[in-house]
């Protein structure tokens, strides 16, 4: 092969310079970076606010705090740290009830929409679910108090009569369930509130099941339910856990519905059919806030800090579980 003697004529440098899209490109890069940073700044600001504002109450002695703040009674076993303990317990208990009730129903709804319903019905149901997620929690609270609580009361009586020997369902000493404003009701209303988010996320997960694996199961003579157990659930397991955690995150922070429904109390009891046993952090803050003095507000913010930490932990856990999906070798 002979070498060519002639060099190609050098192109003018301007041909390789900037281009018209360069400015818009770098502009949007900055814009989105700024938006991304904003969320970090907000989170840091909230955490700082909580810490700074809660500091006075957290560092004050228990006795002293009891004298200044009306709802803190160290002599009755309700110092700040003890109240936080009760409230964390109540919050977790009520959220757990909500989660236990909501998860199976939500998975059922999601499966129905993704694998059983005719396409048109599935679409309509999908919109309805999204709509339910948009109903304000105060409406759920009102509905819970006005409709659900009276409706549930005879059912609780039935539970207490026949299953009262289980500590969970024990009735008050009289044996009579005289009100439905109990932790169970709060849990049920919360369950209804978190069903939409759990079903919506699970539905998306189920719809992503590879057709390849679904057909593999069906072609072996699997029924639809067997196909779901073989192909859909294994593929969607981590997504389902993530969806449940997102629901839990919402249940933990819910204020209005719980505040309106529950007869509040501060104990570590398991008696979910009796009033004045439990309360949640968010509902307790909303309850005490209007009457609180400066130190009282500081104490409430300390409780808020506890809630912030719990939700943060739950959401981080959910994100972590969902992110493991990317490594999941479902596609092959």
């Amino acid at each position: 092969m002979t070498t060519t003697e002639t060099q190609p004529e050098a192109a003018p440098p301007s041909d390789y310079g900037t281009h018209p899209g360069a400015f818009a490109n770098s502009f949007f890069k900055r814009l989105s970076t700024a938006a991304g940073s904003l969320i970090l700044i907000t989170l840091a600001a909230v955490a700082t606010f909580l810490l700074v504002e809660a500091w006075p109450a957290m560092t004050m002695g228990a006795e002293e705090l009891g004298k200044v703040v009306s709802f803190i009674k160290p002599d009755q076993g309700q110092s700040l740290i003890e109240i936080v303990g009760f409230l964390v317990y109540g919050t977790l208990l009520i959220s757990l009830i909500a989660l236990l009730l909501a998860t199976p129903v939500s998975i059922g709804i999601a499966l129905f929409i993704s694998h059983f319903a005719p396409r048109r019905l599935a679409q309509g149901l999908g919109y309805l679910i999204d709509l339910l997620a948009a109903v304000p929690s105060v409406v759920y609270g009102l509905w819970g108090v006005a409709v659900l609580v009276p409706f549930l009361q005879p059912f609780y009586q039935f539970l207490a009569d026949y299953l009262g020997w289980i500590p969970l369902f024990a009735p008050p000493e009289s044996g009579e369930i005289f009100t439905g404003r109990v932790a169970m009701s709060a849990g049920i209303v919360l369950a209804i509130m978190i069903i939409p988010i759990i079903s919506a996320v699970s539905r998306e997960v189920f719809l992503q099941t590879p057709k390849l694996h679904e057909e593999a199961a069906l072609a072996m003579g699997a029924t639809r339910w067997e196909m779901i157990r073989m192909a859909v659930f294994p593929f969607g397991r981590s997504g389902m856990v993530g969806a449940t955690m997102l629901g839990l995150g919402r249940a933990l922070g819910e204020t209005m519905a719980v505040l309106m429904i529950i007869g509040p109390g501060l104990t570590y009891s398991l008696l979910v059919l009796q009033p004045n046993q439990h309360n949640t952090i968010a509902a307790y803050i909303a309850l005490q806030f209007p009457e609180a003095n400066a130190t009282g507000v500081s104490s409430l913010i300390a409780m808020g800090l506890a809630l912030f930490l719990i939700t943060l932990l739950v959401n981080m856990l959910a994100r972590w579980i969902v992110s493991r999906r990317s490594e999941f070798s479902g596609a092959n």
């Binding site: 694996h213 199961a217 072609a219 072996m220 003579g221 029924t223 067997e226 073989m230 192909a231």
Partner: protein
Amino acid sequence: MSKRIDVNNLNVYYSSFLAVEDVSLAIEPKSVTAFIGPSGCGKSTFLRTLNRMHEVIPGARVEGEVLIDGVNLYGDNVDPVTVRRHVGMVFQRPNPFPTMSIAENVLAGVKLNSKRISRSDADDLVESSLRGANLWEEVKDRLDKPGSSLSGGQQQRLCIARAIAIKPDVLLMDEPCSALDPISTLAIEDLMQELKDEYTIVIVTHNMQQAARVSDRTAFFNIAGTGKPGKLIEMNDTPTMFSTPSEKATEDYISGRFG
């Protein structure tokens, strides 16, 4: 084990669109029958009607009869789930279940429909199925490893093992080698020759050399144009089809003049 299939005047529709028109043919037991034809001619669609897998696609339906040893698959008291236990299927892309081990994959179909199976029977079945799929020697030391850890060709043979573990009468293969390299393709083709002693095998292939190599009889499907239904043009013994086809369209296709 091996059964004969007769198809009489079968039309396949996707909603109102006629995808395959008026197919009548007979598939002999203990033989390999190949369906060839250009893309979109309906051969895969037609294959799926032989075990009612087309019903997985919304809107798909058929008119006509598919008789397996005289029993109409579209009769009143026939359950598609049961049909698929008699007519197994292997797909274009290997699809072992990624969350199951190799042994669990083989047993996946056997454990369906609430059947219980003892440990030793299960072990025997895993071995015999994997031997049947010419995979045993390669995987016998790692049966508890995930099925997705195998190579593409091994995965496809695992899928064949999974299909024959439930002892079907017929084995449908929808372009089983199109995602595989030539060595793996050869392994599967050799396997088909062994399997036809026991099963009726129907294979859809884009590869005419493959049809000529593996099949006893060949059916040629064609389509008149976009939006027109696919039709069976002719069916005959494979050597005749590839030497002296009776239709001009078949000759054009196999000689590479179109498609």
